[in-house]
Amino acid sequence: MWREVYLWSPAEPSPRSGPAESDRLPSGLGECWRLPAPPNPTLSELFAAHARDAGWAGFLLAQVDTSKPLLWVQDRMAILESGRIHPPGLPSRNLVHVEARDARDALWAMEEGVRCSGLSAVIGEIWGDPKALDFTATRRLAVASERSGTPCWLVRLGATANLSGARTRWRVASAPSLANALDPRAPGLSAWDAELFRARGYPPGRWSLTHEADRFHLVAASGDRALGEGERLTA
């Protein structure tokens, strides 16, 4: 799950990055760095910054291995509010989609999926803060995922970050896309504002990222876009 990240402009340096982590966290331009990810597959939680913002999907799909089928679970409210997944837009059509009636069914389906060795990842979208989704439920998912080696992503839409057993917790928002070389008026490469606000073994941090050809790139924060535009360093 380790991904190499090449940066070309620091976004917002983590306020708590101590000297011990300096070899892991980005500190300057052009430095090779990896996106903080646990060494073994486990449960990660992803909060959409806004319910109508599907930016997290791009961030998540960039990290998912699609050599084997995906199990994608959506509860009813998630489908109503932010749409059903659309296979032509996904990196792989090889997936199984589950439309769960409520959070309890969704969590059950995710747990069944995590225990299955034939999947490359399980992605579950749950709307709001249902009662069924408590610390015990997330902890169960995390343990099951670590035991079977199937990564599990719990996506929370319109939710608050309560107590959770997830090993890493991200909050992702869309950021203005990069310049489109072919058409200046058109949206370019997608970019995200990703905030890692809890991770075991990593200090939290916040980055502006984009993903291209198998790698994440740090990009200038949207305010500095004009400045950072020409300064891309090739890794």
Binding site: I85, L95, H97
Partner: protein, 518 residues
């Protein structure tokens, strides 16, 4: 089925239906007519006569070799099909024999059963003569010779050899009634060897049983368990399941089958049933998997006054050879996935566990639909993607120009440009109407309001025009111009304008939000 051969031929031939055709078989002295069409019958052709004789009457007859083996196969197929009326069906000469004792009331009496049989065969294009009688021999006689008085029928209705029939005729015994009036002893003495007339008479009136040997059908693998005492506790069914499954799996193993659908039936003491069934994605005879699938369903069976028997049936099976994945028990990931789909489907229902299905269409919501995962074919090799990525943007442009503005008759639109998909990751089930400020008539959108929130459009790409599918949509369907838009905070959406101003298909064009990009 009196005209099976000729009707079967008429269904498959391309000659006009009123052609004077005859089907022929090889006889000792040349071709013999086997069956005739109605047109040929009016010109003097009769089954059993020689073709040359019939040709002498009318030289325009068309002779076609008959296919008795095919007729026989068709008859056997009909026999299997006829099990819809009765479980006991037998091919009998040129017809079918159904044991309908205790069956007729299911179809509203014997008359309506006969009507139903006639109607369904007629629908398939075959004429039938149907008769119901207390004995099989009588039914045969009525169906072949008609009438409603057994005694008035000719003696050949007894299915005796032609020689015997001729002898009886010479003795003046022309009808069955005349034969029945004769003393049995005299008849038995007269027809000692050869065809037994007494025997045929006994079969006809029911003095001698004529059991029906039904067409052999493999019974589905079934395991049953009878309890000494009715069990009323709710765990009875799961406990019975634990004992039934090894039994069923053994049967499946012996017959090299794997179950695709299983049903468990609990027989209650008061004569009622409780049943539940589960289906599997790939055929399986893995006891643990089947147990897991059925456990919940079995636990939900209501014992009411108590179960006194259980039956577990593999209703739908498929060939499954003895398979071993590896020496260590490590199931293949494909089978694991199939089992996962089974478990999810059993709990959530087949409509909720889906796999993508593609359809030849340009409308995004139609082109990529969803189908139940449990009934989708093998999922290996489904990873191929619709991909017409041109090598360069210029090539893409040329490609687009070559296809013309309406892409509805060319191949699929280029879904990928420069390695990036042009389709959103998420699609709303129903496009939602939005208010858009845009440069009329066909300008770019500037700002839109979706779910009561205003989005200022910072970047926009489009339009991608998708024409309505005139061959299936009403003529009032309007074209769609899709735009990929990005608002000032970076959220990307897929919106479209339906229709053009002055396209004659309604008023001002409407705008809809259809998808969200990640």
């Amino acid at each position: 089925m009196p005209h099976l051969a000729i009707e079967r031929w008429a269904k498959e031939s391309d000659l006009p239906p009123d052609a004077p055709a005859v089907l022929t078989v090889e006889g000792t002295h040349g071709l013999i007519i086997h069956a005739v069409t109605a047109a040929a019958a009016t010109r003097g052709a009769r089954p059993g006569t020689r073709l040359t004789d019939a040709r002498a009457l009318d030289p325009s007859l068309v002779a076609i070799p008959a296919d008795p083996a095919g007729d026989q196969a068709a008859l056997e197929r009909f026999a299997r099909w006829s099990s819809r009326w009765s479980p006991l069906v037998e091919v009998d000469g040129d017809g079918l024999r159904l044991d309908v004792s205790g069956v007729a009331h299911l179809f509203g009496g014997e008359d309506s059963l006969v009507r139903d049989i006639r109607r369904r065969f007629a629908k398939a294009g075959f004429s039938t003569r149907v008769a119901i009688a207390p004995t099989a021999a009588a039914a045969w006689a009525f169906s072949h010779f008609g009438g409603d008085d057994l005694a008035a029928l000719h003696v050949s209705a007894l299915r005796l050899a032609p020689d015997t029939v001729r002898t009886l005729e010479r003795l003046g015994l022309k009808t069955i009634g005349a034969l029945l009036d004769m003393p049995r002893l005299a008849l038995a003495r007269r027809f000692k060897d050869g065809d037994n007339v007494i025997d045929a008479l006994d079969r006809l009136v029911g003095r001698k049983a004529e059991p029906l040997t039904a067409a052999p059908i493999d019974p589905p693998p079934r395991a049953a368990l009878r309890l000494e005492e009715p069990a009323t506790h709710p765990e009875a069914a799961p406990q019975a399941l634990e004992r039934l499954i090894p039994d069923l799996v053994r049967q499946l193993q012996q017959r090299h089958l794997g179950a695709r659908r299983l049903s468990i039936i609990g027989y209650r003491v008061d004569g009622s049933l409780a049943a539940a069934s589960v289906a599997t994605t790939i055929s399986s005879r893995e006891p643990k998997h089947l147990q897991r699938l059925l456990a919940d369903k079995a636990a939900a069976l209501d014992p009411e006054f108590g179960f006194d028997a259980f039956a577990l049936t593999a209703e739908w099976t498929e060939e499954l050879g003895a398979a071993q994945d590896s020496l260590v028990e490590e199931p293949s990931s494909e089978r694991e996935l199939a089992r996962l789909i089974d478990r999810l489907t059993v709990k959530l229902g087949p409509g909720r566990v889906c796999r993508p299905q593609t359809e030849e269409s340009h409308l995004p919501e139609r082109a990529s639909g969803w189908g139940p995962a449990i009934s989708s074919p093998a999922f290996a090799g489904e990873d191929e993607r619709v991909r017409t990525a041109p090598s360069s943007p210029a090539a893409a442009h040329r490609e687009a120009r070559r296809r013309g503005p309406s892409t509805s008759c060319a191949g699929p639109p280029p879904l990928e440009i420069e390695g990036r998909t042009t389709r959103p990751q998420r699609l709303l089930d129903r496009p939602e109407a939005i208010d858009v400020i845009y440069a009329t008539p066909e300008g770019m959108p500037r700002r839109f309001m979706w779910r009561r929130a205003v989005h200022d459009i910072a970047r926009v790409e489009g339009p991608e025009r998708i024409a309505p599918e005139w061959w299936r949509q009403p003529s009032s369907a309007r074209l769609r111009d899709y735009y990929r838009v990005e608002d000032d905070s970076g959220r990307r959406y897929w919106i479209y304008r339906e229709g053009l101003i002055g396209d004659g298909r309604g008023g001002a064009p409407g705008w809809f939000l259809h998808g969200l990009f990640g």
